[in-house]
Amino acid sequence: MEYVDSLTGFRLDGRRPNDMRQIRGEIGVVAKADGSALFEMGNTKVIAAIYGPREVQNKGQQANNQALVRCEYSMANFSTGDRTRRPKGDRRSTEISLVIRQTMEACILTHLMPHSQVILIEFLVHILLKFFMYFLPKICFLQIDIFVQVLQADGGTRSACINAATLALADAGIPMRDIVTSCSAGYLSSTPLLDLNYIEDSAGGPDVTVGILAKTDKVTLLQMDAKLPMDIFENVMQLAIEGCKAIAHYIRGVLLENTKQLECRRGI
């Protein structure tokens, strides 16, 4: 099958090999969460919600001098072409959860949130309750929960999840080293292609997913399957990194816009 038309150079969905799909990000979509974001890359739609920092729920997992980061990735039953009943703990979901957790852990400043003293609110005014003084120092260990839900899947779900998680972490105000963005690239019909959709992804060619820390240009995530000669691999990886930088630029714009609106509402 011709993934890149030999005459015009267009891909199956009309993009050029270096074109990314249309991206859209929105912050604050889940009111109950501490931070949340919706991220779309073409037809792939993903919601991320952050709960934390909050008390560790599974005492066995805590690390002494830093906050614990947990992540769960799940796909909605209607997200793919065929409705599949996905068991929660299937291998692919577990693997992607692990990948996202380790990628985000690299950028969250977990050492800034070691165990802390949490003092419950002192109650003062009400006459009857003057005698109640809730003063309870507690040493607790903190965890940050990242939940990602795929609503529509059309290739690049891993990357969309990482981008959504970055936006949501920024919305939650969690201190980060840098923003992490991710993008995928492949090599079909002898052309490096940026941001594969589902059809191109399932073509059997190589699929390189890269996640970088935008400002420092450091690679946190790099995954590839299928075979690729070394020099072509470098081209494809470079293309994916360019895609990541473009997404980082967009994400910064979204965050800036959001901050301006917050300032506006506070009357600054």
Binding site: I27, G28, V29, V30, A31, K32, A33, D34, G35, S36, N43, K45, I47, A48, A49, Y51, P53, R54, Q57, R70, E72, S74, A76, N77, F78, S79, T80, G81, D82, R83, K88, G89, I121, F123, L124, V125, H126, L129, Y134, D145, F147, V148, Q149, L151, Q152, D154, D171, A172, G173, I174, N258, L262, R265, R266, G267
Partner: protein, 313 residues
Amino acid sequence: MAAASTAGGSGGGGGGAGGFGAGDMEVEAYRRLFPLPFYERYLQNYVRPDARPLHRARDTSVALGPIASAHGSSSVKIGDTTMLAAVKLEVMTPSAEAPDEGSLAIEFHMPPICSPTVRPGRPADVAPVISKQLSDVITSSGMIDLKELSLISGKAAWTAYLDIYCLNSDGSLFDAALLSAIAAFSHLQIPLVSLNDDGRVIAVSGEQLENNSTIELVNKEKRKLSFQSIPFSLTCVLHNKYILADPTAEEESIMETFITVVLDSMGRLVSFYKPGGSVLVHSSTIKDCISLTKQRMEELQNILEDSTSAMEE
């Protein structure tokens, strides 16, 4: 950190955008430590902390078609509670007892993003309850005639898989889920199918139709479902003599007795659900709840019609 985020802690009222003075801090503290007396002060004036009168529901909005890959989908927001519903149709062989009927499979999910109390690996307690309630209400209300889901008698029929995901949980989950289910079904567009050479039913896309006009369509005329009677619901929470319609999550957790009434568009009672609770009710309270549901039903019918006409524009 939580104060800086746009999500914020409790619902309306309190500190908000004005900054925290000593007075605000104590109100918030009082609200957390003694929620029931806090609420009772408002209830005495027949109003709630978010300035709603006791019998008014929150702002409701319905959007059709957010999931393009599903055959029918909808997104409903009642206040902050957000539901996303999608219907996917698949062909299967009907059972021997009912060769002319398709089937419905309804599932309700509460993923961990919807609430801080839902943990991964441990589904929310209330999710299977709502799932069953939804299933029962939709089948018993007779909203969908299963015969409309039939393709070829005895050989092929549609199974409609309805999946509802709660994206944000802030009370009245059942109401929002039911509304999103109805909206998704009303948005449903049944795909065109034809028989291929092996005698199996396959889906036909628009382009294939243009290219090959000799494809024989099995269901050319029947693209949308017609509804006999549509169920609408309202959940009310009870405290002493007060009835609060459309509770938020905070209200539901403080005042644990609730009643869910489901009426259909012809005004008949489809379902009445009062699962215990410390407040015992007289028939007068029951009648009040039913009349509140009637009012709410008219509002919801208007909202649904608006969203359908907005889609068609």
